[in-house]
Symmetry: C2
Subunit: 340 residues, 2 copies
DNA sequence: CTGTTAGCGCCTTCAT
DNA sequence: ATGAAGGCGCTAACAG
């Protein structure tokens, strides 16, 4: 690191006091136009920027925002979050924050000191993804470090969150299936986030009921939690229901759809000839899989930007309100067959 | 942010001077064993950690390391770097650094001030991926901020780098094809990194020549630079060489192989029945594509960790030596057919 | 309108 | 072995 200029040196060069320089830097009142000009010229000429570490100390702020992900997150999850990261990065910079990434273990050892485990102990605020241990959240509550939860579908009102409206998305996707002539539709979902399951099944039922259709309870597959489990659940489902199969599946996540399609195809079924699939998330893999997956897309980058805006408000002790991202945008690819 | 303890308060509680506390914190000599004990107990009890911002100022270090990626990097590139990010994160933390991410534009406007464009102007060192504008590197040289280049295949010796040995990988992959009975093998590569092309073609030729095979110049497709261009190059190749087609392709990157397979299949060829494919990188998509791609894998996480080790040495003004990661590990999947 | 000064929390000589 | 003092670079109160 090269030796940098200081306010004092700039002041000396401009023949003014450090205060004047500071005022100019921070666009404050109390300095005559012509001194301001002179100082600004020197600043430009010397390419001076105030030392951030000194400001950190003075303001008791690190100007770092931390994006926390769980260590064992699946590649799929990473993929979804990769896009929101873009939004976080860009908006974070606009607000003058660095964004750092930090992994935290799924389980914290008892009585462990968290402070070093995440964010190296200094961050002005954090963004959490996925299911975050309640324990961790409480720690940040105690430290009075603000955070926002993204795509976490926690109970309404408990925290500041940026979530997707999965009721709506599920409804729209299911409608799409029905429009294409499907009458016997199954649902593949996870239930480990109760709120999430609630919304998905509600959207699903709303669409189905709206068309006077009914759905067999056995068509509700709800215990998926990752690719592998979805794959196995699907195989089991196809065997057990071999006498009365659906023609289409709504999957509450691309990951589940991809796994389920693989399971079906391995058992000799064809997609979309035998089964149609629609999902939601639009992760990058969905366009590389064959058949390409039709799915509902979200503006994930915007979600990241939103999260930062909220977090910055929180940091500045301004009121902030959870936001929900609505999307009915279907990316039509190859996994739906029109029934005549 | 909750009010934190200070050295002074700790000192008062322990009935010693701040200096003593500081010595204990930094494991320095000059404090009796029993005072050390007392102080340590207080520290534990109060969960005290020294204020990082104050240390930053004193040491003139931000304790931030920046991982810089180009703004327009393709999703594929992101995928490769996602894994090295894991290594960077973990090792960075071990060294006591935060790792922050920063995007930089492909092209910098003339005479622009870089300092705010990347890393918010304060980072102790940076890790670059991919092709990085020479201009940017020079800026960091001037600022005397150390950096290391990852997977960049720049000219040997000019910078500290962590690169893969693509000569070796190409050789091994090509051998694999030959072992499987292939005699007419084409090469799909990029040439925008001259050093990279040099190594790849050298490994390719070494394998081919080692078996007394020859290769038609028209089998050297070298101007791919992304998925789309690889796709188009492949289509063109298949048309132009329709009278004398190879039976196998080595592609210098999964991305190229995936695009090329798509091109071939769209033209009615079957993979691996008509053409076998092998590549190198092992990005996540390769296992979701059909047929699943056989490819050479790298320990990307280790690459990230390596890069951090090197960077930390540089930061501490210790000598550092570029490293090259060798890999001959083939992940066998479905894209190679054995010729009888 | 300008300059002097104190202090953010820590670390490290230098005396004691 | 311990305590006092100065300073890292910046900002903002307070005099002038």
């Amino acid at each position: 690191m090269k030796a940098k200029m200081t306010v004092k040196e700039i002041a000396k060069m401009a023949g003014v006091s450090p205060t004047a320089v500071s005022f100019v830097l921070n666009n404050k009142e109390g300095v005559s136009e012509k001194t301001r000009q002179r100082v600004e010229n020197i600043i430009k000429a010397t390419n001076y920027t105030p030392d951030k570490n000194a400001r950190r100390l003075y303001f008791k702020k690190s100007f770092n925002i931390c994006l926390a992900i769980t260590k064992k997150s699946s590649p799929f999850a990473d993929l979804f979050y990769l896009d929101v990261l873009k939004g976080v990065l860009q908006r974070g910079m606009e607000h003058g924050y660095n964004v750092m990434i930090s992994e935290f273990p799924e389980q914290f050892p008892e009585g462990r000191n968290f402070s070093s485990s995440i964010a190296g102990g200094d961050t002005d605020g954090v963004i959490f993804f996925q299911d975050t241990p309640e324990q961790l959240l409480r720690y940040f509550d105690e430290q009075e470090i603000p955070y926002v939860l993204v795509d976490t579908h926690s109970q309404a009102g408990r925290h500041i969150t940026v979530d997707t409206d999965c009721e709506l998305s599920t409804f729209v996707a299911t409608e799409k299936l029905i429009e294409n002539g499907h009458r016997k539709i199954a649902l593949l979902c996870s239930s480990f986030l109760p709120e999430f399951y609630l919304q998905v099944s509600s959207g699903f039922m709303r669409a189905v009921a709206g068309h006077g259709l009914s759905v067999s309870p056995s068509y509700l597959i709800r215990d998926a939690y990752n690719e592998k489990s979805a794959y196995e659940l699907m195989k089991k489902f196809l065997e057990e229901n071999r006498d009365d199969l659906p023609t289409a599946f709504f999957c509450a996540g691309d990951i589940y759809a991809i796994a389920a399609m693989n399971a079906a195809m391995e058992m000799g079924y064809r997609v979309p000839d035998d089964f149609s699939f629609i999902a939601m998330d639009d992760i990058i893999i969905s366009q590389y899989v064959r058949p390409q997956l039709t799915t509902i897309t979200y503006d994930k980058c915007a979600m990241g930007a939103q999260a930062i805006d909220l977090l910055v408000d929180l940091i500045n002790h301004k009121p902030a309100q959870s936001v929900v991202i609505k999307s009915d945008r279907i990316i039509e690819r190859e996994s739906i067959r029109r029934l005549v």
